[in-house]
Symmetry: D2
Subunit: 281 residues, 4 copies
């Protein structure tokens, strides 16, 4: 496994898709040097998109968060979230009724603004489910795990609904050594209880790649060979990029450590085109 | 699928193994008529054992609970719990250090009285794991789900330990229509996060059957053909009994409803020798 | 579950995506009446695309096969196969070496014509794997199952390669009552042996939908709401269509029988927008 | 991970349970030095039992095979196979009809000599399944994989039967570097096609341990603490031994190599009490 310089690789591409967590930022805030790399890419006219499995905040909120962390030139339109994909699905497929959810009021406000009413699972009356038309796993916060996960299990046992998981990540890092169970992990628990598979959004699925790619086609002519996907996780960023048909770079600044990378690549058979320490050099 | 009379079947056996929940009791308390059936079996000299996937209470506590519900002649020695199997395992395999757990203080007191210290996960210092020698999932109560499940995930990421699931049931009924996530469901979530398989105790595994069978051999001569396992759940009670080699009866008074039974039997290929409405007639 | 007339539904859409097996044809040949429906859709200016999980034949071969079965006006360009997606992936990601495969010579010829050499697994020398750069599961025919599946397992144990499954279907019907294990089923066996996940192509993944959708955009302006996906299998056609965001119709002329449909919809939570007996009325 | 001398450990136990493949023999024949170790254990009055996931040969055939390989003092009664467990199950649970099977005539003759007729799947008439009462996966040889695996899938789709997997191992070694798909691997393929779980026999399940333990109790007084299970595979030998409550030794002379051992122990959480190079020193 050869570890290469990111900046020299990235310059060869017309567009770079970047994962957010583990690539641009980590539990400490912005990864030092990231602004510099972004600036170089901008100066080389490399188009940038950020593809993040996150359904807790809107594009604007995410851009503001980057700004407050010190990354100053990311425009909200450059950010594509798994939440946007879930939102799109709900708008296209759910036509009436209320959408029940597990997550924060903020995530619900952002994802479920489709003209349909939304209701946190804690407010649902299990005896009156007639008007509930879909269920969405939005976030791991904003509810009582014990009470509301159990209530979700029972809601979904009582009524057959389309169930959407707006971010299929199982966990996210909260410090150098520790993680927390994410929305996708909670959804998996409920899937396991019900013996069902829900509709998951987010990498490695193709939707976010497709969305970004379609968007690029409105501003220029980009072949898949001219796009580089960069991420810290083999089975989301790299598998998704490989499958979509773009080139892929694994960075070692997040979920996958330098010691583990070769082992994991061999174990999973998910092979990035490049491996880089981080995006900062 | 022929539904038969339990009492006439059970009399043909020298011993009957009964699941507790869904067979003897339900969310309402004792199933009406159960005392009468037990009395008939006693009068016919049928040996009774209760095999329950439960790690929250000792044999004595379980016997007292039956008594307080109105079932008066169950002796604590007739009750075999998955918790006892976990306890036995820990006594035989874990020789020093502290056993960390997720569950109630009562369940810990009962299961972990092996001379070793035990410590709830909430009191564990993730930075000082040297003396933690095993981890046990005991109960779905007695802790804060959000905080302590996340802490458990991190504890088990930081240190490789034998992990025991003292009751592998995924859920248990709390009312006519509703269930709650049980210890086994929470353990599954953590297994899924870590991509590991823990050591599970409880039906369908053979240990409880084996324990009951060994016990019978001390009081008489029982062939496996002379033993009937009775339960309300195909993939625990019936699969376990089938695999252990005893005859099996599915009752429709618990997890498996009359409408679902045939479908589930066909879907799973787990075929009970008999199907009865309940044990009361 | 309301069963509706396909023709009256389909006319409301600008484009209809049709699965092949179970919708247009079955083990007997063409489903009677299918030509008539296609003619009506053509006369109503509904654009037609056929999306099939098949990697054994080229678009032209598939069009010729429809012709020989009696369906006369399907143009090869209207057919999108999972094999095309695999082909595209290989062209974009594999740059040198030989591609080893399990399948027929015909499927290899079609899928692997990317300038790279291809070699059936039976001809691979397990001691000289240096120049093998990828592995593809193409078809369930064209090789000796015992010898060549075992050889595939060992090849993939000896060398870490990108592994592509060109058709992820587990089985296909061979008569009214019988099925045969398909490429995806064989790939699953090998995945299970190696404890790895390969890169699967075909519905329910978004690529074929995306490809068809992109193609439509070159001939007109089609919103996702104006597209109807029609298939006989919930977890490929309907799940894929739902996730891509188009409307979906389950037909009962193939894998899913009228008796099973409601049960399976409830069991899986994959809910089609419409259910029709078949596409012929 | 401390690698210890097997002989000095084994002498501390009253009984030693040995896996066969990877412990006593390998693809080359008998592992050199094994006879010497057995002789030492005999001289120290350590009781020996061989626990093997094998359903292809009877105890006598296995003992003869050890003899012909040069291991001269293993008595057939000291050998316990997963096939014996399957045989016992069939005798106790299947009372009439014919038992269909996938495997060699020899394995069928040995396992299915229960007074019931047995029939290879190739001879079954799929249109006349009335008298088929059970199905057994016996061996990976003795049939045409393509034809007969497909026929098995269809047989089990047409009729709901108890299905027994007499050896749940997924693969077995055929040379230093190569393996072959075993009965359990083929059964997994069929389970995956049908979305069902069959009844599996063999380690890590407790039955073989229990059988050996019960047998010991007829010749002396053996506590579980006085028994050592020795094997080369974490998730069968060591998990099974741990769960049954005996001490466990992982040897590095078979499936688990010295380089992989620590990694696999950490990855699986299946922790042997001892690790030894092999049993020969």
């Amino acid at each position: 496994m050869q570890v290469q310089s990111f900046i020299s690789i990235a310059q060869q591409f017309k567009a770079v898709f970047l994962d957010s967590y583990g690539v641009l930022k980590n539990y400490n805030g912005l990864i030092e040097g990231v602004q510099h790399t972004i600036d170089i890419l901008r100066s080389k006219k490399v188009t940038i998109r950020i593809l993040t499995n996150d359904a807790s905040r809107s594009q604007l909120q995410q851009a503001e968060s980057f700004y407050s962390l010190g990354l100053h030139n990311i425009h909200e339109s450059e950010i594509i979230t798994s939440g946007m994909m879930a939102k799109q699905f709900l708008e296209q497929k759910i036509r009436d009724g209320k959408i029940a959810y597990l997550g924060t009021e903020n995530s619900a406000h952002y994802i479920l603004q489709s003209g349909l009413e939304h209701i946190p699972v804690s407010d649902v009356d299990l005896k009156r489910l007639d008007d509930i038309s879909a269920f969405v796993f939005l976030d791991d916060e904003g509810f009582d795990w014990n009470t509301d996960i159990n209530k979700t299990v029972n809601l979904l046992r009582h009524k057959n609904l389309p169930v959407i998981v707006a971010n299929s990540d199982k966990f996210y890092p909260v410090s150098k050594n520790d993680v927390a169970v994410a929305t996708g992990g909670i959804a998996k628990l409920v899937e396991n209880m019900l013996n069902k598979k829900f509709i998951h959004f987010g990498k490695p699925d193709s939707q976010m790649f497709m969305y970004a790619y379609d968007q690029l086609s409105t501003i220029g002519n980009y072949g898949k060979q001219e796009i580089l996907m960069v991420g810290d996780t083999l089975h989301t960023d790299i598998l998704g990029g490989n499958k979509f048909g773009v080139k892929t770079t694994l960075v070692l600044s997040g979920n996958t450590s330098a010691e583990d990378a070769e082992l994991q690549i061999n174990a999973t058979g998910i092979i990035p085109d490049y491996v880089c320490e981080s995006i900062i050099s």
